[in-house]
């Protein structure tokens, strides 16, 4: 029993230390789940070059990226929005990559191309069967991201005047969108084009395929920037990490993993 109290006392001690704000010197990167995998990879590479740095990458979403940078919980926020919200104006934003949003269907689907207008009508629920588009008879399962997601906000902004149908299934990450579409022959969804694989099929939009070249040349309309956000003066490690991402090597990593470099 006495030992139990000792353990308790020790833990209490730790709690007090934490409460007094004894923070470790590591750098937390949080935000956009679309950029998270790339940030993890970049952080690993960066830390092999600079062993003294300790970079921790968290997901959470673009809003968490903005919030945690504002509050100081994270030193770097990741946000993938076409336009940043009002409260993010006090932050320094650095564009580090561009990302295409691919519209995906099940590989068995006969549809290969959609116009922006058809896309809008599918996602707002006015077209409800693949038959109406020349596909097989089957009720369309619309799969969308959750409210607040950077990908969803960008998608709705670019498609324009889009009020999502209430029938839409909602998933909270690129990966789950892909899994859901891969499992349902009648599904249509949208995701970061870096996550395309053989389980799903990307359709062309107005005849333009979602490729690196088309995104870079602005021919493919569904694309958005990815920002890294910082507040106030940057710590040396923070600056070095952002510099590394913008370096030739960092941009190369971004490109080889499926995002579009900015430089």
């Amino acid at each position: 029993m006495r030992r139990a109290f000792a353990v308790f006392a020790v833990v209490l001690f730790f709690v007090l230390i934490a409460a007094c704000g004894n923070r470790r010197s590591s750098i937390t990167v949080a935000g956009s789940t679309a950029f998270q995998p790339f940030a993890e990879k970049l952080a690993d590479q960066f830390m092999t070059n600079r062993p003294t740095a300790n970079i921790i990458v968290q997901g959470g979403g673009s809003a968490v990226g903005i919030q945690s940078t504002l509050s100081g919980t994270a030193q770097i926020g990741m946000a993938d929005l076409v336009s940043l919200p009002e409260e993010a104006k006090v932050l320094q934003a650095t564009e580090v990559a561009r990302d295409g949003i691919a519209v995906v269907v099940h590989p068995s689907n006969r549809i290969n191309d959609l116009t922006m207008d058809l896309l809008r009508r599918i996602f707002n629920g006015s077209i409800r069967n693949w038959r109406d588009l020349g596909g097989n008879d089957g009720v369309i399962t619309v799969v969308s991201r959750e409210a607040g997601s950077g990908t969803r906000i960008s998608f709705e902004q670019i498609v324009g005047e889009l009020v999502l149908t209430k029938e839409a299934i909602v998933q909270d990450s690129n990966g789950t969108i892909r899994e859901t579409v891969a499992n349902d022959p009648n599904a249509i969804g949208y995701l970061s084009h870096g996550l395309l694989n053989e389980k799903i099929k990307a359709v062309t939009i107005d005849g333009v395929a979602c490729t690196n070249e088309a995104i870079q040349s602005n021919q493919y309309a569904l694309a958005r920037p990815i920002f890294l956000l910082t507040r106030g003066e940057r710590l040396p490690d923070t600056q070095a990490f952002i510099d590394y991402i913008l370096s030739a090597e960092g941009q190369q990593t971004i490109q080889s993993s499926g995002l579009i470099p900015v430089k």
Partner: protein, 279 residues
């Protein structure tokens, strides 16, 4: 209407209930077998003891195993003194009163709170207000609150079932109340208290919702209690949801199921042995 003979009625009822029992067992066993069948072949020493690469698509699950050991232990270290203390107070220091009823009601309510609410609270309180960030410590503290009711309830049962005669003998030998508790009550209640501990560990291992918001989801090997880390449950959830690697997902699920089942088996064994002793 024709009256159905009582015997026929009974046979029908028994058949229906037997089928229900079989169905229940079949479904539960199917789940375990389904996971183990696909997951066990994945397991290897490298899978268990190497670090994940490429967000868990390749490599092993060592950091998540470590987090799955540290977090429940941390939670127990915090909840055990609180829980046993409460149980001792309720059984040894006070009679049934309005106060104990309020304490018990609070305990029951805490037990019923969904883990997502614990997650929200842990995020607001430990992660943000106390500035612990997403860390093992935030996660452990949140888990401690979650398992506290289980610990209190099982400890109380255990302490209550220590025969009064034991205490009387100790008192008659001149021991004080606290000394009696230390030397007589607690040692005899230990197996029962341990049952609660094991149940708490089992619940912590299986927890996901509360931990995503408090311990975060970093895959790196934690260097201290202030580092974020994900447990096997959280890792499995992310792997399975994101479709990152079906193989690693099944492998993680197999380890997860095996650990939960063995922890629960120990709890059950302790409880059983204990009940026999006191019967």
């Amino acid at each position: 209407m024709m009256r159905i003979p009582a015997k026929v009625n009974q046979a029908a009822a028994a058949t229906v209930m037997a089928l229900a029992t079989l169905l229940t067992l079949a479904v539960l066993i199917f789940i375990v077998v389904f996971i183990l069948e696909k997951g066990l072949p994945i397991l290897s020493r490298t899978f268990l003891f190497s670090v994940p690469r490429d967000m868990g698509k390749a490599g092993g699950i060592f950091p998540t195993i470590l987090a799955t050991i540290i977090l429940p232990l941390l939670a127990i270290a915090l909840a055990l003194p609180l829980g046993v203390g409460t149980a001792i107070y309720l059984t040894e220091y006070t009679r049934e009163s309005r106060l104990t009823r309020i304490i018990r009601f609070g305990n029951d309510c805490l037990a019923g709170i969904p883990s997502i609410i614990f997650g929200l609270f842990g995020f607001l309180f430990f992660v943000t207000l106390l500035e612990m960030g997403w860390s093992l410590l935030s996660g452990g503290l949140t888990l401690a609150l979650m398992i506290l009711p289980t610990i209190i309830r099982t400890s109380e049962e255990a302490i209550k079932s220590v025969p009064t005669s034991y205490r009387e003998v100790s008192f008659s030998l001149g021991a004080t109340r606290w000394r009696t508790i230390q030397r007589v009550v607690l040692p005899n209640a230990l197996p029962g208290i341990l049952t609660g501990v094991m149940l708490g560990i089992g619940r912590s291992i299986g927890e996901t919702a509360a931990l995503i918001f408090t311990a975060g989801s970093s895959l790196r090997l934690p260097q201290s209690l202030f580092d974020s880390s994900r447990t096997m449950s959280v890792h499995f959830y992310i792997l399975a949801r994101e479709g990152l690697s079906t193989e690693n997902a099944y492998g993680t699920a197999a380890v997860l199921i095996l650990s939960v089942l063995s922890v629960n088996a120990v709890a059950y064994y302790l409880m059983h042995r204990y009940m026999k002793k006191n019967a």
